[in-house]
């Protein structure tokens, strides 16, 4: 769902009430707990937790879904998918997306956020740019749009014969782009998909980073300026280290998105693109489950996706720590 990267830690103000808990078990409180906690939990366990656990256990069976009997096959499903050319290709594509897309989005959105917050002309104190609100409102909209319509819109824009991109390029005199199939060419299909994903997400992270940069006390920027640091130097040496935690959160969320990437892949190349160049694990999983009926294998693919997500988060945490994130700079 639309999970905004949030991190909130609040002191446990309720600690002093702990003792009262057992003494106060009135009917009032019991009924409150049953309904308030019981209903949401029942729903959550039935539709989220239990399918997750089932998926892991089915991944070790030859379950085809529609028959009641299935037998354990050990790691056979994993061996099968990890040695399968198509799934390997899909894994490679998702890994590529997870490495490249978050990097581009974060660099671009940080750069734009920096321009908005410190790009204004000023003497003395560094100012934000005029019309910052306008740029923010415009940039954020692609994130609010349904991702599927973003994808379909861009597939129409990249259309070989009637699309805007080839229209502009041929208009500029590049006649070899007359009917260039951006999404149908092995070399350009993947970069095109990456571009579309970047377009959809930069604005959101730009707004996020603007908020984070505004949270840095102005005195720090002033001090840097008095010491003679230029804007670029300030951005690299002051802003980025101070909003490091936000960057890490953004990285992880974008990685989770890139390991999925289903909507964009499906909108741009439902069949996986030329030579499976934009095929994602998610597309392959749905085909395996609902077209081929190999539910055990599909569950194993889901587990691989889950493991890749965990691995990605672990790598981001480690890189952040090793590169100095552990020396936490706090302003409190």
């Amino acid at each position: 769902m639309s999970a905004a990267p949030t991190s909130v830690t609040i002191p446990r103000a309720a600690e002093h009430r702990a003792g009262r808990w057992r003494r106060n078990l009135t009917f009032d409180k019991i009924s409150l707990f049953l309904v308030f906690l019981g209903l949401p939990l029942a729903l959550y366990i039935t539709f989220v937790v239990s399918p997750l656990i089932q998926a892991v256990s089915y991944s070790f069976t030859d379950w085809s879904g529609f028959t009641a009997d299935f037998k354990p096959v050990g790691l056979a499903n994993y061996v099968k998918i990890l040695s399968d050319d198509t799934f390997q290709k899909a894994m490679y594509n998702n890994a590529l997306l997870a490495i490249v897309v978050p990097l581009i989005i974060i660099v671009l959105s940080l750069a734009l956020a920096t321009l908005v917050t410190v790009g204004g002309a000023s003497s003395g104190q560094i100012r934000g740019i005029k019309g910052a609100g306008f740029y923010r409102v415009i940039s954020f909209f692609p994130y609010a749009m349904p991702a599927i319509s973003t994808g379909i819109m861009w597939s129409l824009i990249f259309d070989p014969s009637s699309g805007l991109v080839n229209g502009i390029l041929t208009g500029l005199g590049f006649s070899n782009f007359k009917s260039f199939p951006w999404l149908g060419n092995i070399r350009t299909a993947m970069p095109t998909m990456m571009f579309v994903i970047v377009w959809g997400f930069v604005g959101f992270y730009m707004v996020l980073f603007i908020a984070a940069i505004k949270g840095i006390p102005a005195e720090i920027f002033e001090a840097a300026r008095i010491d003679g640091a230029g804007r670029f130097r300030t951005a690299i040496s002051i802003t980025v280290p101070l909003i490091r935690e936000n960057v890490q959160t953004a990285y992880i969320y974008l990685g989770i998105m890139a390991i999925d990437a289903f909507v964009y892949a499906q909108a741009l190349n439902p069949q996986g693109g030329p030579n499976n160049s934009t095929l994602t694990m998610s597309q392959e999983l749905l085909t395996t489950a609902f077209n081929k009926g190999q539910f055990g294998v599909a569950c194993a693919m889901g587990v691989v996706m889950g493991l890749m997500t965990v691995l990605f988060a672990a790598v981001v945490f480690t890189v952040n720590r090793v590169s100095g994130g552990k020396d936490r700079i706090t302003l409190a």
Partner: protein
Amino acid sequence: MSTQVVVPVRKHVTAAERSVAVSSHVVLSIWAVIVILPLLWTLMTSFKTTSEIFASPFNLPAKAQFVNYIAAWNTAGIGKFFFNTIFVVGSALVLVMLLGSMCAYILARFDFPGNRIIYYMMLGGLMIPIFLAIVPLFFVLRNFGLLNTLPGLAITYVAFALPFTVFFLYAFFRQLPYEISEAAAIDGANEWRTFFQIMLPMAKPGLATVAIMNFLGLWNQFLLPVALNTNQKNYVLSQGLAAFASSAGYDVNFGALFAAVVLVVAPVLVVYVIFQRQLQGSVSQGTMK
């Protein structure tokens, strides 16, 4: 050759400073064009006939083809999918806000054994890809007789939107002062009344933010309906649009396809314009510590 009149007391903004601002504006404007131009082009093209679309991507339509919208709404079924989506998202939104705030309230305001476990179980739901659960979920819904039904889809939406809702509102309920609920208890309000008449109204700003985020998330949801709601008459907008786009390759009513894209984006644009302040505020809130 600056001809401006500078009030003498003010310090002069140097030329270098001004060039920084100008180049910032140039870069940001280029970005704004990259964002807006595709949207405007899609809007313009949605009024062209198919032959006009293939003639040139730049020509304005000779006559605004509202028939494209009629075709998208009726023939492509966008109208029907629109009402399906309103039903599913509307009911899921009401339910998830109610259940989510109840659950967050209990977790935030009461200390009891297992509180932490439940909280972290919810938190885990934010990180795990839906794909891991999708296959067994298909059979869970089938066993309940909810597969390919709108209520089934709505319930699934509620379950998957729950972690975000609880997580966000947890922080909110945590901040509300304890004196007020204690005062309510002394005045004789029972636990239920305290929640519905005192705590819930106080949490309104948080509820509004979460509701908007959930609305967008659910309205834009694609994977869950594609996997769990395959009966065409129950399609929601996102999957209906995708189905129309993949069929448009055959009957080539491109004008209607562009119109369909506009119809799917338009309600989101309206919500965005009305609530963008809260939306951006909620993003900012995420960075406050």
